[in-house]
């Protein structure tokens, strides 16, 4: 069962009751914590307590924090690729709705940031290897977004006058921006930012 960004459920209690093994649980819990408090602030102790194992045991699965960070990025990228597959046959608008829905789940589940913006927030402190992984994951998301926008524009499902590249970039900036704003200004403003994204592809 998937539990992260583009997965079927975000509830931690569901994670714990399924057949996930320890290694998988560590990534899942780690991802959640990182999204809530940031990569740097996150620490092994929290996970160790939740899984009822010792701090050192986490090193058995992920020798260094960087390894765990990389695993989180890879897992999330993998989940996103799954998301692409699952929504393959949906209409463009439904795909974008599903994306927005994922972001709403983040906010509900403890004012999380998405994984990309979580690591972007700590970008200047990441190793080159991690920065590269974030960059590559970022490109996957934007490529998909651009393709969906083009599909919708061509089919007449979506309407906007600026270029596809510009609209892609607009979404790429506003989605994480909305999560950030939601933290300080509240859900109301988070929702409004997402609504304006939908409006931008339905008129003008």
């Amino acid at each position: 069962m998937q539990v992260g960004m583009f997965a079927l459920s975000n509830r931690d209690d569901i994670i714990m009751s399924t057949a996930l093994n320890t290694k998988e649980r560590i990534v899942e819990l780690g991802r959640g914590h990182m999204q809530r408090i940031g990569y740097h602030s996150f620490n092994y102790k929290q996970i160790a307590l939740e899984l009822n194992i010792k701090n050192a045991s986490i090193h058995h699965y992920y020798p260094s924090k960087e390894d765990l960070g990389m695993a989180v990025i890879e897992k999330d990228r993998h989940d996103f690729l799954d998301f692409i597959q699952r929504t393959k046959k949906a209409a463009p608008m439904d795909k974008l709705d599903a994306l927005i829905c994922a972001y709403q789940e983040y906010f509900k589940g403890g004012q999380k940031l998405c994984v990309i913006s979580t690591f972007s927030a700590s970008f200047n402190e990441l190793t080159e290897r991690m920065q590269l992984a974030v960059r590559q994951y970022s490109e996957i998301v934007s490529s998909w977004l651009a393709a969906v926008l083009k599909e919708g524009l061509d089919s007449g499902d979506l309407h906007f006058s600026i270029s596809i590249e510009e609209m892609t970039n607009h979404w790429m900036a506003t989605l994480p921006g909305a999560l950030l704003v939601g933290r300080s200004r509240g859900k109301e403003y988070f929702d409004m930012a997402l609504q304006s994204l939908k409006k931008a592809i339905q008129s003008s």
Copy 2:
């Protein structure tokens, strides 16, 4: 001389050569570091080295890290209020240009985030006192933005069809979002996001 977000210069070498006293320098340097690497990752040692004083001496001015964090928020808010005063008589579009210019300086000066998003990124780890300060500062910025947008709409300098509140929120989310995206995707995409903000108030 002001050196932060809405100040006249962002260059650290200028900070050091002016008549700023140690206490002021600590906030300035602290703000820069926090914007580059985040509040939690930031530490006293970096500043102590740069100012050629000992770690403990920083506690003389700011007894706790929270005090320094608060001072950074207050300083930035103060600089923003100054910015409002300085641009009071400018045309709406020029005010917004000046705001965008400030964000471009952030990006140039080490891929900084703005202070509000810096602390929003660590929001769930801040004390209530700090969260409140961020929230209040955030409201000042959005109120100003809304007023400028209204002014421009009424005078005919700006053109957009969505509500002022929506446009304000759009800017509030996209400005920090652009900085975040710029880190992983590069300056090109950062600039594009800012350009699209300007387009949004000139047409439609």
